[in-house]
């Protein structure tokens, strides 16, 4: 009972993100208006995940490019009345690359000029880009919105990557502009590079499809990565700042922290020896309600017990939940206090007053993907 009917494209979306996930990988997706607060928060998250040895040498470049790219959106994003077209940001660190991809609405009239500029930049060597940046700086002229196209040149120069871009015409006057660049973390050799699978976010057709999935499922935030305490706290901190403070959002945050820590405590990895916990969390917003969906691997041997527990909680009324909540709260026997409090799901059910929707989707004979969704309104 209460299993979710997650749309197939949602599950494909999770599968795609989990494919080949390795420790230290990170994916963060934000869909919405890019305000200066959002920019600061995303930079904070990126900073936190730049402490690892492999990424340190290029961290200042990532920081610059990310800052520049986000600022570009906040300056250039357009809004059309009555058509909600949010900007999107994808940050993805995997397969030896740090990929930064953005999407925002622009006036169709700018498309031609922008494309010309991108083709020009893509045809230049790093030396030529340096030269061009110097030239623009000297002969600085502001464009209508305060940019000088210097941003694009600098981003291309510092990433050393091909700028990948695409357009999706929304109306006669507006088009959605996708833009992606990547930084080589692993300093992969050319030959290996050709053999490595590319990050999907470098494929415009994939991006368009992916963007559709986000829209169809009303997803506005995705985090996928290693669910260890530091990442959870950073993410939680961002969410605290990003989601405006209302009674509803406080409830959302209370529920989120339980879900995040649940993955940390009970999630599994596809291999017994891997001690890190890959997980994913998405926040959907539909009118006045939030939905939180999490996905993590779990051993098949745990499923039956978990299912029983979830069905049991789902069968209870709120007063009954309160009763077992109190019992679990006061249960101070040694095996329950250390890690497993037995309170997490009960607490979520109580706070939301709704059923937990779940699904187990087999990965192989040892593991499954465990999805759980809760509704906060």
């Amino acid at each position: 009972m209460n299993e979710i009917n997650l749309s197939n494209n949602y599950k494909n979306f999770v599968d795609t993100l989990f494919k080949g996930i390795e420790k230290g990988d990170l994916e963060y997706i934000y869909k919405g208006e890019v305000t200066s607060t959002v920019v600061t928060n995303i930079l904070d998250l990126a900073k936190l995940n730049m402490n690892e040895e492999d990424i340190k040498p290029i961290s200042s470049r990532i920081y610059f490019i990310l800052g520049e790219g986000l600022q570009n959106i906040s300056i250039h994003q357009e809004k059309i009345d009555n058509i909600p077209v949010d900007s999107i940001i994808f940050i993805s660190k995997k397969l030896g690359y740090y990929t930064i991809t953005t999407g925002n609405l622009i006036k169709a009239s700018k498309k031609e000029e922008l494309e010309k500029r991108l083709i020009q930049i893509n045809s230049m060597t790093v030396e030529e880009l340096k030269e061009l940046a110097r030239y623009i700086r000297k002969n600085y002229t502001f464009t209508e919105k305060g940019g000088a196209n210097l941003g694009l040149v600098e981003m291309a120069k510092r990433s050393g990557s091909q700028l990948i871009y695409g357009f999706n015409d929304i109306t006669h006057n507006y088009t959605f502009f996708y833009f992606s660049l990547e930084l080589d973390i692993a300093k992969t050799k050319i030959l290996e590079k050709l053999q490595t699978p590319r990050n999907e976010f470098r494929n415009i057709n994939f991006l368009k499809k992916f963007h559709n999935t986000l829209n169809e499922n009303n997803i506005y935030l995705v985090f996928k990565g290693d669910f260890h305490q530091n990442n959870i706290l950073a993410l939680f901190d961002i969410l605290r700042k990003q989601i405006s403070e209302t009674a509803l959002s406080i409830k959302l945050k209370n529920v989120l922290i339980e879900i995040l820590q649940n993955i940390e405590k009970h999630g599994d990895n596809l291999d017994d020896i891997l001690e890190w916990k890959p997980g994913m969390i998405t926040i959907h917003q539909v009118e006045d309600a939030y939905y939180v969906t999490s996905a993590n691997y779990i051993k098949n041997s745990k499923i039956e017990h978990l299912k029983e527990k979830l069905d049991y909680y789902n069968s209870l009324t709120v007063p009954q939940l309160s009763e077992i909540y109190r019992k679990a709260l006061l249960d101070n026997s040694s095996e329950v206090t250390a890690q497993k409090t037995g309170l997490g799901f009960i607490d979520i059910c109580r706070r939301t007053g709704t059923k937990l929707h779940y699904e187990f989707s087999p990965v192989n004979d040892k593991y499954s993907m465990f999805y759980i969704q809760t509704n906060i309104k």
């Binding site: 406080i250 922290i257 339980e258 820590q261 109190r326 006061l330 409090t341 309170l343 706070r351």
Partner: protein
């Protein structure tokens, strides 16, 4: 008796337990991985204090968030304060933000479980 003072971290609250000044406070976020470990010295301090408490003990709880692991420890503190209430006049000052219904509900619920006067204090 020595003062127990713990500074807030990203996932643990600020704690002041001061017998001399008769000031007792737990304030901030409580989301540690090891809640048992974090609250152990606090419980130990209160246990010690209970041997020779002040005539009145007002304890301020001003928690912005706490995870379920912390709630089990907080209830242990409250139970300890319930026992202490036989020796010292205990009052719990449960602070919650005006828009935080969950924190208010929890305070009310705990006040039903623990037989100690609770004062609900709303703040902005």
């Amino acid at each position: 008796m020595r003062v127990l003072e713990v500074n807030a971290t990203q996932d643990t609250p600020k704690v002041i337990l001061d017998k001399e000044r008769n000031y007792f406070e737990i304030k901030g976020l409580s989301l540690p991985e090891d809640a048992v470990g974090f609250y152990k010295p606090i419980l130990a301090w209160l246990e010690e204090y209970s041997k020779a408490p002040n005539p009145e003990t007002n304890v301020i709880f001003q928690l912005e968030y706490f995870n379920t692991a912390s709630s089990k420890q907080i209830i242990q503190i409250l139970l300890l304060l319930e026992r202490l209430n036989e020796k010292s006049k205990v009052k719990i000052l449960w602070h919650y933000r005006d828009i935080d219904e969950d924190m208010k509900d929890l305070g009310e619920e705990y006040s039903e479980i623990i037989k100690v006067p609770f004062e609900m204090v709303e703040y902005k």
